[in-house]
């Protein structure tokens, strides 16, 4: 298998995630789409690591996972806070940067 196959798959998943971020209203689903984009880039990193024959790509994919985990924690806490004050998790309702 050439790395091109994996990279095209990664690009497709990234695009689907991006379209999801643009289309969906529910903040949690938007967040899931961001996670999908991160996963797609991880796949590209792993493919490149294999293509070039060194482990740097895998390590960067690992860092992406760590950062994504931290980001999910904070992002979901923000979504919960918005939900508490507005009783809604729609991104359309959170249009004012105040209570």
């Amino acid at each position: 298998m050439s790395p091109g196959h994996y990279l095209v798959l990664s690009a497709l998943l990234f695009t689907i995630g991006g379209v999801g971020v643009l289309v969906r209203r529910n903040a949690i689903v938007v967040f899931m789409c961001v996670e999908l984009m991160l996963n797609a880039t991880n796949l590209a990193f792993v493919s490149f690591a294999r293509m070039h024959g060194n482990l740097d790509g895998q390590l960067i994919a690992f860092f992406v996972m760590v950062v994504a985990a931290a980001e999910v924690v904070v992002g979901l806490a923000i979504i919960m806070t918005i939900f508490r004050t507005r009783r809604s998790s729609s991104v359309d309702d959170a249009n004012l940067l105040k209570y």
Binding site: M1, S2, P3, G4, H5, Y6, L7, V8, L9, L12, L13, F14, T15, I16, G17, V19, G20, L22, V23, R24, R25, N26, I28, V29, F31, M32, C33, E35, L36, N39, N42, L43, V46, A49, R50, M51, H52, G53, L55, Q58, L59, A61, F62, F63, M65, V66, V67, A68, A70, V72, V73, V74, L76, A77, I78, I79, M80, T81, F83, S89
Partner: protein, 306 residues
């Protein structure tokens, strides 16, 4: 012997099953990703995302990244996705997206933008001079394994990034705590205030009278008697009264005199006590000592004691 076999096993380029795995998982993961975007319920989206993540974990394993495959399953599918589901349950599973477009033509333009982006990236990849995979056999063998190789890189070349990650994790933990913390806007009610709140409105602040406190009976379906001999309706649960016809039973009791009722009860208790004693004696003679017999005799003796 071993040296001649190991490189062949480790050469993943020659794995015969790789195209099958790739095409299968590529179709599954793209379909699941599309499902994630187009399914209306957030929980379904989360499950679709789990499918994509597990497929990607297998693809990592195929591509010489066993450590990342496991981290993908444990951290992403295990922790991150469970966090998503947890928040979904808190927010309300029933929440579905409204299909009303707040920006006119948003979906159409999003689709066009996505298509354009995909064409751009794929065309770029097609034009790029992608060499065949070198494979990680040499890189892994250098440190004695995939995990060892990653660890060596992590603690030498990327040690600063590793240290910064620790700061990031602490910041994230603190941020989550601060965001999830709810400030108390009113002071906590003291015991005095609580007791005032309870007794001010009047009504029935004390506990309700217990049922069956009248000496001859100790059952929850028998009402307690008030000092004047009338029945206290508060003392029994209305549901139980409805079911067992307590009112009727109590009327029967009062059909007799107190003495007659007491005599009948005492006789019943004696009969039970005799039966229990006989059973107990038999058990002791038999020396069987089975716990079931002892348990059956126990309550009867307790009743006799009363």
């Amino acid at each position: 012997m071993i040296e001649s076999v190991t490189p062949v096993l480790a050469q993943t380029e020659t794995q015969a099953g790789e195209p099958v795995v790739f095409w299968l998982l590529a179709i599954v993961s793209v379909a699941a990703a599309l499902g994630m975007v187009f399914l209306r319920k957030a929980v379904h989206s989360a499950l679709m995302l789990a499918t994509v993540m597990l497929s990607l974990a297998v693809l990592y394993a195929v591509q010489d990244a066993p450590f990342l495959a496991f981290v993908q399953v444990i951290v992403y599918t295990g922790a991150v996705l469970m966090l998503f589901l947890f928040v979904l349950m808190l927010v309300g599973v029933a929440s579905t997206d409204s299909l009303v477009e707040t920006i006119r033509g948003q979906r159409l333009w999003a689709a066009i933008a996505g298509l354009g982006f995909a064409v751009l990236v794929v065309a770029g990849l097609g034009n790029a001079a992608l060499s065949e995979s070198i494979g990680l056999t040499a890189a892994n063998a250098e440190s004695g394994g995939n995990i060892q190789g990653l660890a060596r890189l992590l603690f030498t070349k990327y040690v600063f990034a590793f240290e910064v990650t620790s700061a990031l994790l602490i910041t994230a933990a603190l941020g989550a705590m601060v965001l999830a913390h709810r400030e108390r806007h009113s002071p906590k009610a003291t015991q005095k205030e609580l007791s005032k709140r309870r007794f001010r409105p009047g009504g029935h602040p004390t506990p309700l009278p217990g049922p069956g406190t009248y000496a001859r009976h100790n059952a929850v379906d028998m009402p307690a008697l008030l000092p004047d001999g009338s029945v206290s309706e508060l003392s029994i649960n209305p549901v139980i009264a409805q079911r067992s016809g307590t009112a009727r039973m109590h009327m029967d009791l009062h059909g007799q005199t107190e003495e007659q009722a007491v005599e009948r009860d005492v006789a019943a208790v004696r009969a039970v006590t005799e039966a229990a004693r006989d059973a107990d004696a038999e058990t002791r003679e038999a020396k069987a000592g089975t716990p079931a017999a002892g348990g059956a005799a126990g309550p009867s003796e307790g009743e006799a004691g009363k």
